[in-house]
C-alpha cells in the first residue's frame, strides 16, 4: 500500500546556509556545556560562522524551493546579508558588554544565532506560513534575550511587555493572513497576487480589512506609530547590546517581509496601502522625533530615534516603486552601521554597576576619550542626515522616492522632522564637547569593540562617499525580486 520514495537531497540545497546556522547554534550550546573554560571562543565562533554563512548566502543562486515556499532572489540575499551583518557586529560588541554587566549566559550567542536563522527564513519566505514561522523563530529568542539580565527589574518588565506585544502583533498578523487565505484560497505570496488580479478582488472590503490587519501586525514588528508604544520601555529595559541588536536586525527582517507582502503579494492594493503608510510614516516621524526631544536617558532617546527612523524607512515602501523599495533597503543597511555604532559608544560608556545611560553621562566625553566622542559625532551626524555621512544619502533617496511618487506632504513632514531631530542629537554632541564631566572614567576598548566600531564608522563614512556600491546592489536586488 504505502510506497517509499528516495529522499531527494538536492531539494535541501537552497536551505544549506540556514542549516549551517542551526548547526552553529547547536554547536555553541554544546561547547558552552562541555568546554566551559573555552567560553571566550564562543563569540569568535559565532562571528566566523555568520561570516561563512554570509559568504554562502552571497554565493547562492536564485532558486525557488519547497514548492514556492522558500525563495532565493536578490531581495532575499540582500536582507540576509543585512541581518547577518547585524548579528556579526552585535556579537563583536557583546563580549565587552557581558564583562561589564556580569551577564554570563552561554546560551546568549546560541539564541542570537537562532534568531538570525529566523531572519534568514523571513527574508526568503515565499509563503505566508513560512513567513509567520520565520517571524516567530526570530522573535522567540529575542524575548528570552531581553529578559536575560535578571538582576534588573526593568529587564523583566521589558521582557514581559515585549512578549505580550509580540503575541498581540502575531495575532493581528495571523488574523489578516487567515482572511487573505480565505479570500484567495492560497498562502503562496505570488499566487495571492495572481488570484487578486484574476478575480478582481482589489476593491473587496474584506481584502481591505485583511490588508489593514497585516499592516497593523507588521507595524508592531517594525515599531511604527501608533503601534510603537512598547518600543521605548522594551528598548530601555533590555540589556544595551540586545537593544542594539533589536533595533537593527529584527527590524530589517520585519521590513523584508513587509516589503515582500506588499510588493509581491498585494501590488494591486497599492492605492490602499500607499496612503495608509504615508499617514503612518508621518505620524511615526512626528512621535519619534518630538518625544525624543524631552528624554533625559540617552538609551531612551535612541529608542525614540529608532521609532523615527522606522518612519523614514517607510517612505521608500509607501512610494510603491522599485526605486522606493531599493531606497528603503539601502537605508536599512546604512541604519545598521550608524545605529549599532551609536549603541556601541553607549556600551563603552557603561561601567560595572553603573550603566551610564543618561545624557549627563556624556558630558565632557571629548575630554576623556576624544576617539569615542568623535565616533559618536560621526554616528549622530549620520542619524541626522548631514552630508558627508551615509545617513544623508540614504535619506535623500528615500525622500526622492516618496517625492516622485507624489507624497509631497509626507516628504515636507519628513524634512521638517529631520530638522527637529537635529536638536536632540546635537544636544548630546554639545554635552560631549562643551561641558565638563567627571574625569575619572577609563575607557577600555576590547578587540571586538574596536572591530565593531571600525566596521560601523567605515560603513557610515565609506557609504557616504561611495554610495553607488550599496545603491546599485539594492536597486538590482529590488528589480530582480
Amino acid at each position: 500500500m504505502s510506497t517509499t520514495v528516495a529522499v531527494n537531497w538536492a531539494a535541501v540545497e537552497p536551505i544549506i546556509p540556514e542549516l549551517l546556522l542551526v548547526g552553529i547554534a547547536v554547536l555553541l550550546i554544546i561547547l558552552d556545556l562541555f568546554a566551559p573554560r573555552q567560553r571566550q571562543l564562543l563569540p569568535w565562533l559565532t562571528v566566523v560562522g555568520c561570516l561563512a554563512v554570509g559568504v554562502m548566502v552571497l554565493g547562492s543562486r536564485p532558486a525557488v524551493a519547497f514548492g514556492g515556499m522558500f525563495v532565493i532572489d536578490g531581495y532575499a540575499v540582500f536582507f540576509k546579508t543585512l541581518c547577518l551583518t547585524g548579528v556579526v557586529v552585535t556579537t563583536l560588541m557583546s563580549e565587552h558588554f557581558r564583562r561589564i554587566s556580569g551577564m554570563h549566559q552561554g546560551e546568549y550567542y546560541s539564541l542570537l544565532v537562532l534568531s538570525a536563522v529566523g531572519m534568514l527564513i523571513m527574508a526568503s519566505a515565499g509563503d505566508l506560513m513560512i513567513l509567520y514561522l520565520g517571524l516567530e523563530l526570530m522573535a522567540l529568542p529575542i524575548y528570552a534575550l531581553v529578559g536575560l539580565h535578571k538582576t534588573d527589574n526593568r529587564t523583566s518588565e521589558a521582557a514581559i511587555k515585549y512578549f505580550l506585544m509580540g503575541g498581540f502583533a502575531s495575532a493581528l498578523l495571523l488574523f489578516g493572513m487567515s482572511l487573505l487565505f480565505g479570500l484567495t484560497g492560497t498562502t503562496d505570496i505570488a499566487s495571492i497576487a495572481r488570484v487578486i488580479e484574476v478575480h478582481a478582488l482589489a476593491g473587496n472590503p474584506a481584502l481591505a480589512a485583511a490588508l489593514g490587519l497585516l499592516i497593523a501586525g507588521f507595524c508592531f514588528k517594525v515599531a511604527v506609530a501608533p503601534f510603537h508604544l512598547w518600543t521605548p520601555d522594551v528598548y530601555e529595559g533590555a540589556p544595551t547590546v540586545v537593544t542594539a541588536f533589536m533595533s537593527v536586525a529584527p527590524k530589517a527582517a520585519a521590513f523584508a517581509v513587509f516589503g515582500r507582502v506588499l510588493f509581491y503579494g498585494l501590488p494591486e492594493l497599492q492605492l490602499h496601502w500607499g496612503p495608509i503608510l504615508a499617514v503612518l510614516a508621518l505620524l511615526t516621524m512626528a512621535v519619534g522625533n518630538i518625544t525624543a526631544l524631552c528624554q533625559r536617558s540617552l538609551k531612551r532617546m535612541l529608542a525614540y530615534s529608532s521609532v523615527a527612523h522606522a518612519g523614514y524607512a517607510l517612505l521608500g515602501l509607501l512610494a510603491g516603486t522599485t526605486q522606493g523599495l531599493a531606497a528603503t533597503m539601502s537605508y536599512l543597511f546604512i541604519y545598521l552601521f550608524m545605529n549599532l555604532g551609536a549603541f556601541a559608544i553607549l556600551i563603552l560608556l557603561a561601567t560595572e554597576g553603573n550603566p551610564r545611560e543618561t545624557l549627563d553621562d556624556c558630558k565632557g566625553l571629548a575630554a576623556r576619550s576624544p576617539i569615542a566622542a568623535a565616533l559618536m559625532l560621526v554616528f549622530f551626524f549620520s542619524l541626522i542626515g548631514i552630508p558627508p555621512t551615509a545617513g544623508f544619502i540614504g535619506k535623500f533617496y528615500l525622500l526622492k522616492a516618496a517625492f516622485s511618487a507624489g507624497y509631497i506632504l509626507t516628504v515636507v513632514g519628513a524634512v521638517l522632522f529631520s530638522a527637529i531631530s537635529a536638536y536632540f542629537y546635537l544636544r548630546v554632541v554639545r554635552y560631549m564637547y562643551m561641558d565638563e564631566g567627571e574625569q575619572n572614567m577609563v575607557f577600555h576598548f576590547s578587540p571586538g569593540m574596536i572591530a565593531a566600531l571600525a566596521f560601523c564608522v567605515l560603513g557610515v563614512l565609506g557609504l557616504g562617499i561611495f554610495p553607488g556600491l550599496l545603491f546599485d546592489w539594492a536597486g538590482s536586488a529590488a528589480l530582480a525580486g
Binding site: 519547497f66 556580569g102 554570563h104 539564541l111 523563530l137 529568542p141 528570552a144 523583566s156 479570500l183
Partner: protein, 195 residues
C-alpha cells in the same frame, strides 16, 4: 443548520473562556478556563471534518500542555504577583479599539467571498481519511514549515532554560526574578495560593 448552531456555541464559548482566562485572578481558574477553550476548539475542528486535529487538540493541549501548566502553577509559589503598569492609561481606550475592530470586521463580513478550493475538497479528504490526508500534506508540501516549527520548539526550550536559570553569582533568593518560575525557591506546601 445544526452545524451552524454548534459553531456558534463553540465560538461563543471560546471567546467567553478566553476573556475569563485573562481576567480571572486565581491562576488555577485561569488554566481551567483555558481548558474549556481548548475543548471547544476541538469542537470547532470537528465541524470542519478534521477529527484527527480534534483528537490531537484534546490529547496534546487539553491533556499534556494543560497538565504541565497546572504542575508549574503548583510548583511555583505565586504569592508575589507580577504587576505591570498598564500600557495604555485608560482601559476604555483598549476596549474602544477592540470594539471598533470587531465592528469593522463584522461590517466587511458580507463582502467576504471564499477563495478557490485547494487540492483537498471535502470528498477527497473523506475518501483517504483526514489523518492520512494531513500526514501526506504535512510531510510533503509543508515539510519546511514542519521543520521550522520543530526549530521553534528548540528555541523555546533554550529560551525557557535561560530565563529559568539563576544567574551565576546571583543570590538564591533575589527579588528580580519573579517573572521567571523560580524553581529554586523553597516550596511551602502549607501555604495556599490565596487571592
Amino acid at each position: 443548520m445544526l452545524t451552524q448552531l454548534f459553531f456558534g456555541y463553540c465560538a461563543l464559548m471560546i471567546i467567553m473562556s478566553g476573556i475569563l482566562a485573562i481576567s480571572l485572578r486565581n491562576p488555577v481558574h485561569c488554566v481551567l478556563m483555558v481548558l474549556v477553550m481548548f475543548l471547544h476548539m476541538a469542537g470547532l475542528y470537528l465541524t470542519l471534518n478534521a477529527e484527527f486535529l480534534a483528537a490531537v487538540q484534546i490529547i496534546v493541549y487539553a491533556g499534556a500542555v494543560l497538565v504541565l501548566y497546572l504542575f508549574v502553577l503548583f510548583l511555583v509559589s505565586l504569592r508575589d504577583e507580577i504587576r505591570l503598569n498598564p500600557f495604555v492609561g485608560n482601559v476604555w481606550i483598549g476596549r474602544g479599539i477592540a470594539i471598533g475592530l470587531a465592528l469593522a470586521l463584522i461590517t466587511v463580513l458580507p463582502s467576504f467571498i471564499p477563495g478557490e478550493r485547494g487540492d483537498w475538497p471535502l470528498a477527497a479528504v473523506r475518501e483517504v481519511t483526514h489523518t492520512k490526508a494531513m500526514g501526506l500534506e504535512l510531510y510533503t508540501t509543508y515539510l519546511l514549515a514542519f521543520e521550522i516549527a520543530g526549530l521553534i520548539l528548540l528555541v523555546a526550550v533554550i529560551g525557557g532554560l535561560v530565563l529559568a536559570r539563576r544567574e551565576q553569582g546571583q543570590p538564591p533568593d533575589h527579588e528580580g526574578d519573579e517573572v521567571v518560575p523560580p524553581a529554586h525557591r523553597q516550596l511551602d506546601n502549607n501555604e495556599e495560593v490565596r487571592r
